[in-house]
């Protein structure tokens, strides 16, 4: 918390400026919603799964630049991955894919990981039924 203001990598800014996969999926196979307004970040992540492969991912995010960029990046990362592999995506992987995050913003990558996990669990619990 003592790092001073955030300075973002070019990659973060690129995803912030042109976020990929913004939106919702109608009747998604999995949805995850994490965060809360008190903290200033809310992420919703939607996935479509076909034969255990994630074919589509979309997000809606209320949050800072890093929250938007990590949302965008995580949706990119999961596309085409198996559910099993997607479950292994860590917050560090998201941050690294973005060329790093300021330490005060690492929690956004955690949020992205959690949103993804939550969507995957939603899918898994639904598919069990």
């Amino acid at each position: 918390m003592r790092d001073g203001p955030a300075r973002y990598s070019e990659k973060v800014m690129e995803h912030f400026k042109n976020p990929r996969n913004v939106g919702e999926i109608e009747n998604p196979d999995g949805v995850g919603q994490v965060g809360n307004p008190v903290c200033g970040d809310i992420m919703e992540l939607y996935i479509r799964v076909n034969e255990s492969i994630i074919t589509e991912a979309k997000f809606k995010t209320f949050g800072c630049g890093a929250a938007i960029a990590t949302s965008s990046m995580v949706t990119e990362l999961v596309k085409g991955k198996s559910v099993e592999d997607a479950l292994k995506i860590s917050n560090r992987a998201v941050a690294e894919a973005l060329g790093g995050l300021p330490s005060v913003k690492m929690h956004c990558s955690v949020l992205a990981e959690e949103a993804l996990k939550s969507a995957l669990e939603d899918y898994l619990s639904k598919s069990k039924r």
């Binding site: 955030a6 800014m13 912030f16 809606k60 209320f62 800072c64 630049g65 929250a67």
Partner: protein
Amino acid sequence: MKRIFLDHAATTPVHPEVVKAMLPYFTGAFGNPSSIYSYGQEAKVAVEKARAKVAGFIGAKSEEVIFTGGGTEADNFALKGIALANEHKGNHLITTSIEHHAVIETCKFLERRGGFKVTYLPVDGYGLVDPQEVKKAITNKTILVSVMHANNEIGTIQPIDEISKYVKEAGILFHTDAVQTVGHIPVNVDELGVDLLSISVHKLYGPKGVGALYIRRGTRISPFVHGGEQERGRRAGTENVPGIVGLSKAIELARQEMSEEAKRLACLRDRLIQCLLENLDYVHLNGHPFRRLPNNVNVSVDFVEGESMLLNLDLENICASTGSACSSSSLEPSHVLRALGLPPEQAHGSLRFTLGRENTADEIDQVVEVLSRIVTRLRVMSPLFKNSRAAEQERNKCVMDRHGTAKK
């Protein structure tokens, strides 16, 4: 696009005339005011002239003005200096919940390490302190009341003179942090009725790293920086001569231009507020509708987060802020907006525009246009906006239903 700087409450460019006034004291008249040869004396004369100018501007006497290393130091000096010098009289301080960190963190330090108790008074929805609340909070242990003149985030101007009456009645010392007001609106220590007043000049087209503390004659205060006998032994350290000269030049310019400039800025401010409220849905003004600094606009934009707006504005070369610049590394929403009672989403969605000398009506219109675009874009991305729209549609439907029912 040319940069549009709308963050003058965070800092300002140094006025070219101020730079010009400072320059000789770096190289030519670089003497140390403590030296006895005529060369040091020139520097001393410059410092004393500056002191007289600053004092005159706020209705004080020269010897009541002590130069410091900025506004934060002035606040620290005032609070710690008074606490230490008066602890035999009591251990209670009163301040507000919307002070600058320089005051709040110093109070917390005095609570933690100095055995002091501090009352943080609430404010109303406009950010105003109720003088009656001050009166009620005073105990026989209270030694100091500190209420800022105008708030740096929302611009609300406090009724310092009214509060002063109750403080003086109780025979207590009164400090005000006037960092955001000196040179922007009239400040007179006697009319305000304060014993201590903090000044910083980088908010006023002067240099960073220099400020002043007004200390009413006869006030017992401990020095904050110990060492040599500079500043009558109250603030040791070789004087920042160019900085002090710059401070006084900035004050001189403000004296000449302030009243006209305040009028001009208030017009721009009102234009910006009006356009924002008209052009964007779900926008609320934070702070007081008219008891506010002439250059301050603070709004909350529902459903979108402040930093993401700021970054987008920055991409279009517009500088603004979300709450105090100092707090931008914190993840907590601004303590000031929370004290107003704003729900967290709105606190997180706040934007502050603070206008200055070079801003024009044209720029204001550009900002409104750019921000409208940004907000629309971000709202599309926002789950809150969707939910709220859904909720609203729901609500509208209900209303229609009820109307329908009623009609039946």
